[in-house]
Symmetry: C2
Subunit: 414 residues, 2 copies
C-alpha cells in the first residue's frame, strides 16, 4: 500500500474515535500540543535550518525564505494559536434545527465532524500547526501534504505534535504528514474518495488549479483575490482616498488587497490626480485606461491581461468609468469573487452594488483588507473559500463540520 | 460555440437578473408556470407518447416506461408541486449571522442564490418541472440535461415553461434544456467551471459515478442507499417487527428502503423465525449469515457482495450479530451513509448508535423510509445528498443557496 493510502487509512480509523471525544478531551490535547511546541522548539528550529539551507542552495527567493523561516517568536505564535483554538466554542454537537413532525417524529440537525480532511499547501510551516489544531477541535483527522521546501520543518513539527497526543485521549493517528515530496503523492490524495472526505488546497494559483482540475474528492477551493474598490460619484473624498490607499498599500501581498481601483469620472476629475501622487509617493506603479491616462499622463497603459492579474505587489490598475453598470460588468469579467468594495454616500448605489456584485465579501465604505477570519471575529481560519458551496469567505471552525439528522421515534412507520 | 456552452452562457446571463428579483416576482412566475402546464397538457402528453413509443421499440422495461409516462393526473401533480413551492419561504436574503465588530464594522451573512445549477438526471420528466421550480424560487438559473428516453417530453415541458416565463419578470433564459442526447454533452457540462456553479446528478449509480469521477465543477452527490436496521437485544418485539417490515416492504425500490437487517443474537433466538415467516408471506427473499441460517434453514447464503448491493427489490440480507460493535463495523463497511436505524429501549445503545454511525440520517425507533424532503417538512426536495459538504440528507430550498458577507463600514481601514 502506498504511503498516502496507508496514512489516509490510519486517519480514517482515528476519525471514528475523534467523533466520540468531548470538548474537554480535545481542548486538553490542544494545550498539550501548545506546550510541546515550546518545549521542543530547538529541535524544530534546527530542522527548519536544514530546510533554509537547502532552500538557499536551490535559489529560493528571499521572500519565500522569510515565509519558511521559524524562530522562537514564530513558535510562540504557533503555540499561542493553538491556545486560541482552545478558547473557541466547539461547534460539534451543536443543534442547528429541531423539527417536530405531526406523526411524533423529533428530527434534530446536529453538527458533526467531516471525517478526514486532506490539506495541500505550500511553504509556511505554521499552516501545519493551525490546520492540525483546527481539525482536532472539530473532531476531524487530517492528512497534511506540505510543500517539499518545508519538509524537514513539517516532519519535526508533526513528530512533536503526535508525541504530545500520545499522552492524551486524542489518537496520535489523527495527524498524518505525507513525507513523499513528489507531486504524485498530491495527485494520489486527490482521488482518495472513501478515505478523504474533503481536500483543501492553500497556495498559489497553479496548486489550486491542479487540485480543482484533478480531484474526485470534494474540494473547498481557497482562492486568489483580484479585488476591486469602486469610488462612486457620491463618495466622500477623504474616506475614499483613505480606503483606496489602505486596500492597496497596507499589505499588497495578501489576497484581500486591491488590484484595481474603479473611479467614477466625476469624482476622478476632481481627485484622481492627488490620489495618483499619493500612490507614487508610496512607490505604487499605476496602469490605467485612456480616461485615467488623460488625467494623469505619467501612468502606463492597462491591458486586459493587467485587469486579470493578481499582482500581490505595489502595482495598481485604475479604470475611470461612467456609471455603475460599467463597474458591475468589469468586476464580473475580471473579479475572482473574493472581496469588493464601493465607497459612496448614496444608499441606492450602495445597495445595488452590495446585491449585484457576486463575491464572498462585499463592502460599503470599508477596506477589502478586512476579509479575514480574525477580523470577522472567528478567531482562526483554515483559509478563505472562494467557492459557492459549503463555505464561502473566511472559514472558521463551522466550515470544518458537516451535519447529520438524528431522528427520535416511538415506532413510526410509513 | 457548442450547444451546452451556449446555453450555459445564457443561463449565466439570466442568473444575474434573477438575483435582483423579489419573492413576489418569483412566485408570480411559478404560478404562471403551474397554469401553463395544465393549459398545455395535451401537447405534453402527446410528446410523451412519442417517447413511450420509441421506448417500446427500444425495449424499455415496463417499470421504466411507467416512470416515463405522463398522464393528466401526473401533469396535475407537477403543477401542484409548483404551487407548493410558491408557498415555501423564500430563503434568499435571509440573514444568517450579524456580527458587530469593535471597530464599528457591521458584518451580515446573507443567503444568496448559487448562480447556475446543472442538473443531470434520468427518465422521470417530473424532475424537469421540480428542478426548474426549485431553482427559480431560489433565484438560480438551471441547465437541465435529462435522459434521452424522455427527450420529447422534456422539450415540450421546457417549451411550455419558458413560454410561461416570457410573460413574467423571470427571464426565459433561466431555464435551459440540453437537446443533445449524447453522453458528450454531459461530460461537457461537468467541466464548465465559471459557467456552472454546481452539478447535481440524480439517477443510478453509474450516472452518479461518472459525474463524481469526471466533474471539475463542484458536485452535490445524491446517492444510493444501502440502509440498515439494527434490532438490539433490548428492542420491543412488536415495534421491531413493524419497523423492520415497513423499511423493507412498503416500497423497496427507493433509496431509503432497508437492504440489510442486523439482529442481536438474543433477540433473534426468540423472534427471527416469526419475522422470517412474515417476510416470506410478502414474497421477500432472505439471504443470511451462518447464525441466521441456523435459525431459519430455508434462507440462502449472504455473500460480501450481497451486503454491498442495493437491491431496491424484495430481497433482504439478515445478519445475526453478538454486539453493537459488530453492527457499527458492518454499517461502516457496507453502508452508503444514507439512513440507518436502531430499534432498542436501551438509551445507552441508542446514543452510541446515533453518535457513531456516520450517515445523513440516523433513526432511533422509526423506519428509515422517512428520509425524504416531504417527511422532514421541507415541502420539496431536489434530491438527497449523501456527501458531507454543503448539504447532507434531504435537500430543501436552503441547499440551493450560497451565502455572502455584506460589510457596512464608515471608512474603516486596516
Amino acid at each position: 500500500m502506498s504511503e498516502v493510502k496507508q496514512k489516509a487509512n490510519l486517519a480514517k480509523g482515528a476519525s471514528k474515535n475523534l467523533v466520540t471525544l468531548t470538548t474537554r478531551q480535545k481542548n486538553y490535547a490542544l494545550n498539550i500540543m501548545a506546550d510541546a511546541l515550546l518545549k521542543h522548539q530547538n529541535q524544530i528550529i534546527s530542522a527548519n535550518k536544514q530546510d533554509l539551507q537547502i532552500g538557499k542552495e536551490n535559489g529560493l527567493s528571499n521572500s519565500l525564505q522569510d515565509r519558511l523561516a521559524i524562530n522562537s517568536a514564530r513558535i510562540e505564535s504557533m503555540s499561542e494559536g493553538l491556545r486560541q483554538i482552545v478558547n473557541l466554542n466547539d461547534p460539534i454537537g451543536e443543534q442547528l434545527e429541531e423539527i417536530n413532525r405531526p406523526n411524533g417524529l423529533l428530527i434534530r440537525k446536529i453538527r458533526v465532524p467531516i471525517g478526514v480532511i486532506g490539506m495541500i499547501y505550500e511553504a509556511r510551516p505554521n499552516v501545519t500547526v493551525d490546520a492540525a489544531g483546527l481539525s482536532i477541535k472539530t473532531g476531524n483527522a487530517i492528512v497534511l501534504r506540505g510543500g517539499s521546501s518545508a519538509l524537514n520543518s513539517n516532519q519535526k513539527i508533526v513528530k512533536v505534535l503526535r508525541e504530545a497526543l500520545s499522552t492524551t485521549d486524542v489518537p496520535v493517528e489523527a495527524i498524518q504528514l505525507i513525507d513523499d515530496p513528489n507531486r504524485s503523492s498530491v495527485n494520489e490524495m486527490l482521488k482518495l474518495n472513501g478515505l478523504l472526505d474533503v481536500v483543501i488546497p492553500r497556495g498559489g494559483a497553479s496548486l489550486i488549479q491542479n487540485v480543482v482540475q484533478n480531484a474526485t474528492v470534494p474540494v473547498i477551493e481557497t482562492g486568489s483575490g483580484i479585488c476591486h474598490t469602486y469610488i462612486d460619484k457620491y463618495a466622500q473624498p477623504e474616506m475614499a482616498g483613505s480606503i483606496a490607499f489602505n486596500a492597496k498599500v497596507q499589505r499588497p501581498s495578501v489576497c484581500n488587497a486591491m488590484e484595481t481601483l474603479l473611479i467614477h469620472e466625476n469624482f476622478a476629475k476632481e481627485h484622481f490626480q492627488s490620489f495618483a501622487e499619493k500612490y507614487r509617493e508610496a512607490d505604487v506603479q499605476i496602469k490605467g485606461n485612456n480616461m485615467a491616462k488623460k488625467m494623469v499622463p505619467w501612468i502606463e497603459d492597462a491591458s486586459d491581461e493587467d485587469y486579470a492579474t493578481e499582482y500581490n505587489d505595489y502595482i495598481l490598475n485604475v479604470k475611470i468609468v461612467n456609471n455603475i453598470k460599467e463597474v458591475l460588468n468589469h468586476i464580473d469579467t475580471y473579479g475572482t469573487k473574493h472581496s469588493e468594495c464601493i465607497v459612496t454616500e448614496n444608499e441606492e448605489n450602495a445597495n445595488q452594488f452590495l446585491q449585484e456584485v457576486d463575491a464572498t465579501s462585499v463592502y460599503h465604505n470599508a477596506s477589502t483588507r478586512f476579509t479575514d477570519g480574525f477580523e470577522f471575529g472567528f478567531g482562526a481560519e483554515i483559509g478563505i473559500s472562494t467557492q459557492k458551496l459549503h463555505a464561502r469567505g473566511p472559514m472558521g471552525l463551522p466550515a470544518l463540520t458537516s451535519t447529520k439528522y438524528i431522528i427520535h421515534g416511538t415506532g413510526q412507520i410509513k
